[in-house]
């Protein structure tokens, strides 16, 4: 089990006050806070050995390159990639998905081909495919969700007909639903489709082994897993990455440039044009070390425990409706509505009690429409959240109800 009280001391920001109250941070699904180990690794990189990476023939550049490329090894080991060449650094999950849509998608999809998504996807796993579909004439198909926020798996086989690419989330950022990823990957590949898994929510919170999962691509962001903004990861199976045309053109991604043609660098740099996010990469490496130190099994177990407690605590409030499946089917995300109070008002009133939650559609408008909701409030839990945080949330909700209750 995680010792969250001890973990909290690793996160300086959790000591601050908001509106004179100790901060309760419940928005890690949007972006997590950063431990001292990550902050120090990044500061040390700037202080001790900052220089541009690759091809520098002087000590600083060699040291910076070593730390930056070590982060790639750490990520490869964290997700059990076969080799470091399969780990491409991007800006974030969104860019990783766009990379696949732009390169693999343009090369492989045409009129009449189908792309299968699910109704619970984040906009960043919908819009790149819409753009690709418009350009290539491919069609989009959606695996529907049930009223309680699970995928309608019995529909999968039929919907896979004619599908060349399946892209889906490991864990819904609204419902918290953990999808049966392995099963979807197996069925999709048996039907001849290539599979991209959106790991933006999954990788920070669950143990992930790409070899066991069997997916062709996996996309995730550092900033949701204790790392900095500005860096994300595209894992891709080597054969696919090798066959794909490059994404952005520029420095670092080339082997030889002539006036009218160029050849490409080896993997993974073929997909990393321009000076990369060097220090952010080093920060991601430190974040991976930090999470591995805790153990991802323990991280997942902690969140299951948190969400079970919080659902029980919130469920006891009159007029509170939690969307999505029961606690045993979800990660640390709880979206809810409360007594008809608009989520913006709720989030605002909770903030006055020091409790940070998100309000809105959480970049999943189609899912909200499917559930018949225009917006929800969302509390999301991570390694540094405690049962006390869930208590503070419940108390703040009662206070919000008292304020708004005066007008009802």
């Amino acid at each position: 089990m995680l010792d969250s009280e001890a973990i909290r001391t690793d996160f300086p920001i959790l000591c601050r006050l908001v509106h004179d109250q100790p901060l309760v941070f419940l928005d890690s699904a949007a972006s997590s806070q950063k431990p001292v180990a990550v902050l120090e690794a990044m500061e040390a990189a700037y202080r001790d050995c900052y220089a541009n990476v690759h091809r520098g023939v002087y000590s600083l550049s060699e040291e910076a390159t070593a730390r930056y490329e070590a982060a790639r090894d750490k990520v490869a080991s964290f997700i059990h990639a076969t080799s470091r060449e399969e780990v491409v650094f991007t800006r974030n999950t969104t860019e990783a998905i766009n990379l696949v849509a732009y390169t693999w998608g343009r090369a492989h999809l045409g009129r009449g081909d189908r792309i299968l998504l699910t109704e619970m996807e984040h906009h960043s796993n919908i819009v790149p495919w819409q753009l690709l579909a418009q350009e290539t004439g491919a069609g989009l198909v959606y695996l529907p969700v049930t009223d309680d926020g699970l995928l309608q798996m019995e529909r999968l086989d039929d919907l896979l007909d004619g599908v060349k690419l399946v892209a889906f989330t490991m864990m819904s950022n609204v419902l918290g639903t953990i999808t049966p990823a392995r099963q979807i990957v197996e069925k999709a590949q048996a039907a001849g489709a290539v599979v991209l898994v959106d790991g933006a929510q999954g990788v920070p919170h669950l143990p992930v082994d790409v070899q066991e999962l069997g997916c062709d691509f996996l996309a995730f962001s550092a900033h949701k897993m204790c790392g900095p903004t500005g860096i994300g990861v595209l894992y891709g199976r080597r054969e696919l990455l090798e066959a794909m045309p490059p994404f952005l053109g520029g420095g670092d991604m080339i082997r030889r440039v002539e006036l009218y043609r160029s050849t490409w660098n080896d993997l993974p740099w073929k997909f990393e044009a321009g000076t990369p996010a060097i220090v952010e990469g080093i920060g991601l490496g430190a974040a991976v070390d930090y999470l591995q130190g805790l153990g991802m099994d323990a991280v997942a177990a902690h969140e299951r425990e948190m969400v079970a407690y919080a659902m029980e605590r919130l469920g006891a409030l009159e007029g509170l409706r939690i969307v999505g499946p029961p606690a045993d089917r979800r990660g640390g995300v709880i979206s809810f509505t409360f007594r008809g109070i608009h989520p913006h008002d709720l989030a605002h009133l909770l903030d006055l009690e020091g409790v940070a939650v998100r309000a809105g559609h959480h970049c999943a408008q189609p899912l909200h429409k499917r559930l018949g909701l225009s917006a929800t409030a969302r509390a999301s839990f991570y390694i540094y959240n405690t049962a006390g945080d869930a208590d503070r949330l419940a108390e703040a909700l009662e206070k919000a109800a008292a304020v708004m209750g005066r007008v009802r």
Binding site: H348, S374, M404
Partner: protein, 123 residues
């Protein structure tokens, strides 16, 4: 509890002024914000001198957007078309007379966004 959730704002939210629709509106103004589902619909009737004689509004949204629309509907009465065109964001924020942070600014301004769209369509 909060300066924003003060009595006058709560009151406008609970008892919106000029709620409903007009028989024959001259200007119809709509705004919707897909990011939170807020919707504001304002109808304006002009008199012979083309000043605002009647106002009605309906909508759905957070307390800030609904209270703002209610106050705005009262504020519009008697104004000329030219005065409507010259309304600023600060005018709307002044009506609310409460601290509006950057995260709530769009909620507060939704009736003005609607009015500007309505005026653009009414020529």
């Amino acid at each position: 509890m909060s300066d924003l959730y003060r009595e006058h704002i709560l009151d406008h939210y609970a008892n919106p002024r000029n709620w409903g629709r007009l028989e024959q509106p001259d200007i119809i103004a709509d705004a919707d914000d897909p990011s939170c589902g807020d919707q504001v619909h304002i109808e304006i009737g002009l008199d012979g001198e083309r000043r605002v004689a009647r106002v009605a509004f309906e909508g759905e949204g957070c307390m800030v957007s609904m209270a703002s629309a209610s106050m705005f509907s009262e504020y519009l009465k008697g104004k000329s078309l030219e005065e409507l065109r010259q309304l600023t964001e600060d005018d709307v924020l002044a009506l609310l007379d409460a601290p509006i942070g950057p995260g709530r600014r769009r909620c507060a301004l939704s009736p003005l966004i609607a009015l500007r769209a309505g005026l653009a369509a009414y020529q």
